[in-house]
Amino acid sequence: MMDAPDAVFWDRPAPVGHLLLDQLPSYQSLLYRRKSSVRRRGSGWGSGRSRQLSVSSGKWAEQTHSGEELRPVRELPKNMQDKRREKQQRLQQGGALTGWGLWRLNVHRSLKRLKEDGVDLLSALQLWRTDIHLIEGMFGTGILSYFSFLRFLVLLNFIMFLLMFVFVMLPVILTSHTSHNITYSSTNVSECSVYPASSRQGLVAFHEHITDLLSGTGFLERTYLFYGYYNLEFIHSHFTYNLPLAYLLATVSYLLLSLVWIVKRSASGFKRKLIQDEDRFQSFCNKIFAGWDFCITNENAARLKRSSLLYEMKTDLEEERIKRRMANRTRGERCRIYVLRAGLNLFVMAVLVTCFYCIYVATVFSQRKQVEGAKSAFLQELVVEYLPSIVITLANFITPLIFSLIITFEDYSPAFEIRFTLMRCVFMRLASIGVLLFSLWVQITFCGSSECPCGYNHEIYPCWETHVGQEMYKLVIFDFLIIAAVTVFVEFPRKIIVNHCDHGLVRWWGQQEFAVPQNVLEIVYGQTICWIGTFYCPLLPAINTVKYVLVFYLKKVSLVTNCRPATRPFRASSSHFFFLVVLLIGLALASVPVTVSIAEIQASRACGPFVSYSTSWQVVPRGITQLPPGLRSFLLALASEAFAVSFFVITCLGMFYVIALAGAHKRVIEQLRDQLAMEGRDKRFLIQKLYQAQQASFGRSADSKGLRRNRADTGLCLVEPSVVLETQA
């Protein structure tokens, strides 16, 4: 808080400028008014402040501007004429350039122009540029961040699809059309390698085709869609193409590529997050100075933005008052609140465990019914197939409501409430996929009372990877159907009802708001499934790309026609960082099942490229043994313990050094801040003393000379005594 001398400054209207203060070099260097207009306005322009620049001021201005010569002209904050003049001045100062210098300058200029044209072209090719620009104009940058995030995911999925296509599918496609020498993968464990045909026999009803299409069974099972189709091992042409190795390396590389791309995108946001104050959720300066979206063009949107800014400010001020109140809590109150919070957290865990158990039971039931293969009605069959997806969706619909109800009792500050609820929802969404996979794995490795001879239950699941791929495929399809259904059957009718019906209840329900966090969670959920499922279903990224493109258009149409901006807007910056953090959590979660199934679980012996290996990872050591000896020993050295330990130690040392450096910088910044504040006080103190000295001397000289004021040519100006500075005691 500000202390007594400073309180003077803003309790009254701003102090009239001290003429002496205006002459200070620090003020002169900040002066931005054009010199010509200053000269014209020099003698008082009616606002009650007379600024008389002493002769020396021009000298100070020139001195401080000399440092700007190094910057390109366009970065100077001057108007066009001044910039032109500056450019001419620099050219003249640079002198006549010789032929070589001139040529170099021209080349440099034309290269720069070429680069700018290239960047221009690239940005024109950006996907959906006009659509996103329209959304930005209507709704501001908060909602825009969702759509640019969606665009990023479309590109990521497309690149993943290209990766899998080029390295896995293209060789297989080529071999079926050309005649190369192929070695099929085979094994000598006969009983595990029986793969009964799963396509339907006999007369197939039409609705069964639909069921097959929606769940990846039947005619879709032995296609490029699933893992089981790729049962080649080596393709011999000019060189030997090791398909299992390529499959494995493509999987690892798409995970690594996603990681690198996401980290690169989030790096800038992360740096800013670290620099910002940690204890404030959003600083006030950020809200006020950067609060208005200058890209809003719609009058309606501007009005809504104003009201949302007002609401935000009131809420933040309220939150600050609450925080102050919370800090003044008594010990008894604090104990009560902690006990309450512990109890509610236990309740939340109980809810989560119940949901996970429901998912487990649904999965087990669905699997058992599928294996029995009893013919049933079309809808019933579909429901049984999709039962885990339905349960997961229901759970993800109900739990956020429960969480937002519970958090109101836990008495946190409003900003923390939002973040915490969001974290719980994220955890719920992503953990439900993990539970589904776990229950699948339990089913696959369960062989009754005895140990599984093949490492998995080969009677029920002869090709378990295809089966897992089918489950992932079903999740993706169902997710898309739910998004489309909610948009078409809930949001559009809601708008129609709200517009035409004036009942009190309807008005309370209100128009749809575009809730950015929930929508982001939806697409992160879909992306996590895609990352897990691509190993088992190589065409899944392509399906996901198409799905996200359709979701983009659906959401855009729904947004433009049905929604109004949220009353509590999600800030663009923190939201971008939040999206990428959630996406990283999804990626981390997705890599766990993939890693476990590659490294630990026995690859199925009836289908797929890894038939002759024990686990999928085995292909890598076997591949290394076939490399030339120099490379082989190098790779083995990389994998040895000595290298790993020393690498770990060096990384730790580097991390400690950087942390220490950051801490030291922070301390220096604090000291400099304090010093600046102290210098400011010194300055005011000295000026006060000077003023008093002037008063005393003028008082004496006025008696002798009969003059009360002295003019600028002495270098001292009389300070207008309308404000008296209180000096520090």
């Binding site: 808080m1 701003a14 450019k87 300066c285 100075f289 009131k314 400011g680």
Partner: protein
């Protein structure tokens, strides 16, 4: 509205490209829109468009700072906020995607400095907040809330504790503000 749009001479175009942050396409588009504002095709490049006409642009129409923007970028001697084409280009350049943070924060400071005295004092901040929330009585903050808000802002940004925010303090606080670059943007 003119008939055929006049073309910008090539050397002028490349000079504008060098002196602003705008690309060739953006300069040509700005020329087209400015000619439409002027109402005639071959207007000389130093002729001025009055502030009222400039404020009819959709990008500025709903902006609460539109008058301040015109005043800041205007080079008119009459201080009436009228813009020439070059002023207009300066405006778009400062608000473009590729403008540096320093330029944006410099012009933002000038726009927020309602009384043009080189510092943001409590009155400027109060006017700023009222612009953001709306001018009518029911959209303003209460006196108490305004006090609290302004004291918070000054606490965060006023480093030398003189009760005002000068340009370097403003630029410092903006450099830590993550939303500024994305919101301080106008694209035609």
């Amino acid at each position: 509205m003119g008939g055929t749009a006049s073309k910008l001479p090539k050397d002028l175009l490349s000079e504008y490209q060098e002196l602003t942050f705008l690309t060739k396409q953006e300069i040509l588009l700005a020329h087209k829109r400015f000619s439409e504002l002027q109402g005639r095709e071959n207007g000389p490049y130093s002729s001025r468009v009055s502030m009222e006409k400039v404020l009819t642009l959709p990008e500025l129409k709903s902006n609460p700072f539109r008058k301040r923007i015109c005043h800041v970028f205007s080079t008119s001697d009459l201080r009436d906020g009228s813009l020439t084409f070059e002023d207009f280009l300066d405006l778009l350049s400062a608000f473009s995607d590729s403008a540096t943070l320093e330029i944006k924060s410099h012009y933002a400071f000038r726009i927020f400095d309602f009384d043009d005295d080189g510092t943001l004092d409590a009155r400027d901040l109060e006017k700023l907040v009222n612009c953001l929330t709306g001018e009518t009585d029911d959209t303003r903050l209460t006196v108490e809330e305004m006090r609290q808000l302004i004291s918070n802002i000054l606490e965060e940004s006023d480093i030398d504790k003189d009760g005002t925010v000068n340009l370097s303090e403003f630029q410092h606080v903006i450099s830590r503000s993550p939303d500024f670059v994305s919101s301080f943007k106008i694209v035609l």
